[in-house]
């Protein structure tokens, strides 16, 4: 059991370092890294303090490993849900922007056509 917590501790630490590295390289924006950092740090703390997991497992009526798995799955589902909301907002903004660009291009072509027609007269 301790080996599992050691592995999750190392993986959580690696995830925290990866997020910080991505932040430093500007591969991820601060506002989008926060939920990942929170999930990774929660996983890190729970792996470092198995006592809390034993208590949680006892309360849930499952083993500490199952409690860790449950917390991890729920935490990352929350992160994914938040990302889905962000992607949805980005898609809406993207569609509105594309529609605006199309309308501006339409007006530009009409202006050019009018100017060419005036020049020919």
């Amino acid at each position: 059991m301790e080996r599992l917590f050691t592995i999750t501790l190392l993986l959580s630490a690696a995830l925290v370092l990866a997020i910080l590295h991505s932040l430093r390289r500007a591969h991820i924006r601060v506002e989008y890294s926060l939920s990942w950092l929170a999930a990774a740090l929660a996983s890190l703390v729970l792996s470092a303090r198995p006592g809390a997991l034993r208590a949680l497992g006892g309360w849930l009526g499952v083993s500490p490993q199952a409690a860790l798995g449950t917390v991890a799955v729920f935490g990352f589902l929350v992160v994914l849900y938040r990302l889905s909301m962000i992607v949805s907002e980005l898609k809406d903004n993207n569609v509105a922007l594309a529609q605006k660009v199309a309308a501006l291009e339409y007006h530009l072509h009409r202006l050019e056509a009018t100017r060419e027609a005036d020049a020919r007269r």
């Binding site: 569609v95 594309a98 529609q99 660009v101 199309a102 309308a103 291009e105 339409y106 009409r110």
Partner: protein
């Protein structure tokens, strides 16, 4: 007063049919301006549409039917059109039916007029799956709209400026026909149906598969439910 009217044709890779559709529509309804909302087609749709005498609005990347239609509605609203009639670019809709839609729009109090394939008799061009889907949505929409709708999936629709203002700000991005009815109902707007004919498409074939049909039903149902949740209570009657 007749009011300025736009014929809006959403198109995606319709190079073989778009010219004929525009030509036929303009021959029958010469007073209409024609705008092709080109969903970033990879073929000669835009060029053929311009050659046939239409204006073309091209979105910079593929948006899907709802997105490109809304681009057309937004532009029509911005340009001050009083009425917009939408037909598809595949030639299935008969432009001879456009005057009936416009007449209903101008003389009734409805904000939307649907060209219905099922008001008089079944057109015979509808697949079994599509037919079942239409029956299902008729039953779902009946209590929501407060009246029966014979052809809720028809893409042959006319709207007046009031509905245009709504569509310019709120329009479903995917599978828009059914949800658009609920969007208008949310504003306590009304619709009427007029009979129209449907013909075999000029070119290409339908891409609807059984799996896509199931996805369509689930997607549209969820969209309808979401729109019901947005209903403005004081106007709900």
């Amino acid at each position: 007063m007749i009011g300025r009217t736009l014929l809006l044709i959403p198109a995606y890779n319709e190079e073989t049919s778009i010219g004929a559709v525009i030509g036929e529509a303009r021959a029958i309804n010469p007073e209409l301006d024609v705008l092709v909302a080109n969903d970033c087609s990879g073929d000669a749709t835009a060029a053929n549409a311009r050659r046939a005498g239409a204006s073309v609005l091209t979105v910079p990347h593929h948006l899907g039917l709802g997105g490109v239609l809304q681009a057309g509605y937004k532009l029509a609203f911005e340009l001050g059109y009083d009425y917009v009639v939408r037909i598809d670019g595949d030639g299935q809709m008969d432009p001879h039916d456009i005057p009936a839609i416009l007449h209903a729009l101008r003389t009734s109090s409805a904000q939307m007029v649907i060209g219905s394939r099922y008001l008089e008799k079944d057109d015979g061009h509808t697949s079994v799956i599509r037919s079942l889907g239409i029956r299902f949505f008729r039953a779902v929409l009946r209590p929501i709209l407060g009246k029966p709708v014979a052809d809720p999936t028809s893409g042959f629709v006319g709207v007046n400026r009031e509905a245009l203002a709504v569509f310019a700000t709120s329009f479903p991005l995917e599978y828009p026909e059914i949800e658009a009815l609920v969007v208008l109902r949310r504003k306590a707007f009304h619709f009427v149906e007029v009979p129209c004919r449907i013909r075999p498409r000029h070119a290409g074939r339908s891409t609807i598969t059984p799996l896509k049909s199931v996805y369509y039903i689930v997607h549209v149902l969820l969209g309808v439910v979401v729109n019901i949740l947005k209903f403005e209570r004081h106007r709900w009657r």
